[in-house]
Amino acid sequence: MIRFDSVSKRYPEGREALIDISFAVAAGEMLFVTGHSGAGKTTLLKLIALIERPSHGTLEVHGRSLARMKHREIPRLRRDLGMVFQDHRLLMDRSVADNVALPLVIAGVPHEERGQRVRGALEKVGLVGRGKDAPSSLSTGEQQRVGIARAIVARPALIIADEPTGNLDPQLSEEIMQLFVKLRETGCTILIASHDLPLLKRMKQRVLVLDHGHLIDDVPASQVA
């Protein structure tokens, strides 16, 4: 599903955020990326969505090589991808339901089906009945969950989430993680960036550890303790 091959990323006027990263993720796998702040977690996710292009190396997503992907092919790639952003990226001047519906609008899903799917997604993140509210009237944790609902609403085969539980209390974090586990049971591949070590230990899933842009460890699920 995802394959990194000696990938490096240097920002235009910065030091290298990722250095010679290689790993592969099979379809249907769930794994975490962890590391200190500034280790390169967000950068790694951005490469997968082609928000940034790699400076060196090749990477593949869905069997498509991203290194030379044309600009106009990027929307297709992103439509097959559910993304949860560290800063949620909600449209503050639109209702919660409109935010969640946006991927469906872009995909051209009929109006009635849209409503149904949005309700379903809001139900999953525990925000039933908040559809008409403005995102600004929600707590940070609730906004984060709207972002998750938007990422899962179109049933993408791959979900990448950047600190999806960053602003949630332990119990909500647990619920959100269980939601990801359930999604994974439907065949979804899930990649989550998180520095919440206790949570990683409880989840017992494969973990990639980044340190100053280097991939220093790739711990299989069986060895997470």
Partner: protein, 319 residues
Amino acid sequence: MNMQDAMAKPVRHSRMAMWRRQHAWCLRDSLRQLARRPLGTALTIAVMGSALALPLAFYLLLVNVQHLATALGDSQSVSVFLKQNVDARGANELAGTLRARSDVGAVTVRTPQQGLGELAAMQGFGDAIRSLPENPLPFALLVEPRAGTDRVQVAAMVRAVRAMPGVDLVQDNGQWRARLDALVALGRRVTLLLAVLLGTAAVLVIGNTVRLDIRSRADEIAVQQLIGASAAFVRRPYLYEGAWYGLAAGIVAVLLVLLLEAVLAVPVRDLVASYAGRLHFGGLPWVTLVIALAVAVALGWCGAWIASSRYLARLGNSG
């Protein structure tokens, strides 16, 4: 269908249906954006509407001057005023000479009494004429060139008549018509120039409005692109926005011109009455108004297209 089923079904639909639904959404979205700042929207529409009304108003005037020209000068007649000392017999003899010419069709003799009667019938001349001690008007001949003669031949005929004994003054009415035609041609150019200039202005005004709108919504565009919106999708609401502006401005322009027609109708009706039905004031035909509307929509779309092209080109370079 329960929630689980709805969630489990993958998103896949026919391209056509998908496209139609995206358009419906963008159409609503663009209207929403316009309604969000009613004052700015109204102002832009008013400016663009007035700009478009001006060439339409010019066109309206032009069309009616053209009517006037047709009504006044469709004859190429030449008026020949004879010297004071020529009497009825002399006038008839001269009329006979003229009728014999190959380039002359009909000749009518007008007596001084007929001329005075016509003058008296005109508004304001009655009193002045009654106070005259004697009839100051000479005999006159109204010469119609033979059908098919052109301006050059008529001019030659006028020169010949001018040289005849007993002829005092020759007035070529056709020349008047030629001048009016030249004036109408000039008016047509001015109208066209105005339409092009103000049409360009309209494109720029809308382009700028849409550009500002795109800039103020840069965050939203970024999010849309992050979750897979194509460039065409991102652009569409703005194109519709431009088209709405164009449509609204077109309607304003058409209403202004209809208002102008209504205001002009009364004085022109009086003028028409004095010409005994030979002249009629016409509003612009509805086809012209519909075309004007369509052009306005196209201009709005065009302005939005230019503005969004530039923005998306910048995105293309940075992304």
